[in-house]
Amino acid sequence: MTQGVPLREIKVPVTRIEGHGLITVELNRAGKVSQARFHVTEGRGFERFCRGRTLWEMPALTARICGICPVSHLLCSAKAGDAILAVRPPRAADKLRRLMNLGQYVQSHALSFFHLSSPDLLLGWDSDPKTRNVFGLAAADPQLALNGIRLRAYGQEIISSLGERRVHPAWAVPGGVRAPLTAEARDRLAAKLPEAMRIAQDALALYEKSVPGWAEEVRSFGDFPSLFMSLVGEDGAWEHHGGRIRFVDADRAIVADGLDPARYPEYIGEAVEGWSYLKFPYFQEAGYPDGLYRVGPLARLNCCDRIGTPLADEALARFRATADGKAVTSSFHYHYARLIEIVAALERIGLYLEDPEILSPRVRAEAGVNEQEGVGVHEAPRGTLFHHYWVNEDGVLERVNLIVSTGHNNLAMNRTVTQIAHHYLDGQKITEGLLNRLEGGIRAYDPCLSCSVHAAGQMPLRVVLLGPDGEILDEVVRAA
């Protein structure tokens, strides 16, 4: 620092999310918030070290990006592989992939709500941090904690019944899947479905009953108009493994529809900032950073016309009623959307388990390399996931681009922490409740930072030191 007034900076390490992050809040001379940022502080390098590997290794290789979302990468990678083989997987394979993804929704959403977020929601933002965790929750409400564990276990069991293991199953392949469900596994899963559904509906009812008590958080945890992006089915219904891309605005008016997911570079741009390893995707038509959009459960429920199953559609109607039919714009309600999606996932799981085709042995289309470029797109629990591969004529990867859900939400998460800091930080008194609300604002997105920073490398780094009046005190630029 060369001159001027030293800035005050509050650093908040973020916990109870997947990965490592940091929030900084910068104060001006008067002690008011000038800006807040959410930094992703780890770098990985997956896009680089996938190069030189074969297409068939990619599902298992990219699944290693994460221990929470391996299924999402596995399925998305297999879809990119389908595109390169230029095949359509057999119908049974498509249904089985969807079944596994729905299992992933159940386990991942249950983890987010019950294990990570419900301590804040149910024990209170200002409660003792020593007990504001899953153990404190277990002491305060043992049945709820147990329900969370059982619901998550059900999702895990769907995954392990198909892929032989809960984490990193090597099951989806370019062209389809390795094996169908067995009749025994189907019967076992069907028998356990009613209990899972009861837990999910109870949690949804609990949320709806409690939400009036969180009115201030709903208003301040990233409540701002923005675009939302997700896949929707050909008929506009909620979709998670196919369909086309739709953008809606805060009025739930369709901004763009029927976009080909494979042509995402035509409508999604990626910006880079020197203070985070995580890139900043934006909707190109609106420019950077105005093209801020959100993805994930909240976006999927805002984008779709309907979900397509009765219980979930009833819940969707209640969800929409909170915003008079417009888009639900508070990121706090990611929690709400997540709980509705658990119900939606369980309803669809029930339909698949009744479908005899999921036992079909015809699950894998065999083919060689017929295209040298392929895009897989898929709705992971956290949002839209893109895997884009370029291969040589032998199927060896030459280039990889991954855009993961947490990345799409990067701009929105920064906006959210700024809003929370403005709302809850007054003067120079930093309360535990404020710190936890900052973290909680991030946690609402259920970000997965391990996934999001799959790519690292020599990024040009620009460090700017700003004084209270916005004048540049010092600036360092390091070239790539």
Binding site: G52, W56, A60, A170, R178, D394, G395, V396
Partner: protein, 233 residues
């Protein structure tokens, strides 16, 4: 008939048989990697090292040392386990053996040996060489990252198939198994596409294209099944 002792167990061998043959007949386990029934022994990996008590504790490869009358062989001891583990560590450190997404995960002789010998760490610095993967063949691929240079593919191709496609190129750690004097496998004019090399390979270095992680199971016994069915000269 030759009489010898292996780990204090009386063992017998026909003339021309090796210490390894005698040990297997007597039910004594000696780990091997480059050795494969039906192929000539080369003693390349040294994992089958045994100690000969009445040769002043000299270390010899069991696969390539003829059984001799009166030999007192130590096949398993702390010293031998330590040596074998060190050899394994060197193999792992030399190239990029990443089991997690390897086609042969769960069906790999190198991985099995690491488990058997209790190799839970690699104490040598990894070399992380940047080696290529050749997937130009219509049916098969070769990933040099996973190759341990045992030469089983080279011998299977030469001795059983008679095609002589594979050979070694380079020296020391820079050695690579190459087809047709360094051409891409898919352009090889000698390769018959029989796949015996793939079945002989103990790791995921040679694999069938289209197989995903843990899907590649090998049939190394195939080579002996073929040669046993051949009429003897």
């Amino acid at each position: 008939m030759i009489n010898l002792r292996i780990d204090d167990v009386p063992a017998q061998a026909e003339p021309g048989q090796t210490i390894l043959d005698a040990a297997r007949a007597a039910g004594v386990r000696i780990p091997t990697l480059c050795h494969l029934e039906a192929l000539c022994p080369v003693g390349a990996c040294r994992l089958c090292l045994v100690e000969i008590r009445n040769w002043n504790g000299k270390l010899v490869p069991a696969c390539a040392t003829p059984a001799q009358e009166g030999l007192d062989v130590v096949a398993n001891s702390d010293r031998l386990t330590s040596l074998r583990r060190t050899i394994l560590e060197l193999l792992f450190a030399e190239r990029n053996h990443i089991c997690a997404f390897c086609v042969s995960n769960g069906h790999c002789e190198l991985q099995d040996l690491a488990t058997e010998l209790g190799m839970d760490h690699v104490t040598f610095p990894y070399r992380f060489p940047a080696l290529a993967l050749d997937a130009s063949h219509a049916k098969f691929g070769i990933d040099h990252n996973r190759c341990v240079l045992c030469g089983r593919c080279v011998r299977a191709c030469a001795e059983v198939e008679g095609a002589f496609t594979w050979g070694f190129a380079g020296r020391g750690v820079h050695t690579l198994v190459e087809a047709d004097l360094g051409d891409r496998w898919g352009r090889s004019v000698t390769c018959t596409g029989c796949g015996k090399c793939v079945q002989a390979c103990p790791t995921g270095a040679l694999f069938e294209k289209g197989k995903i992680t843990a899907e590649q199971e090998k049939r190394p016994a195939l080579l002996a099944e073929i040669t046993e069915r051949r009429p003897r000269a």
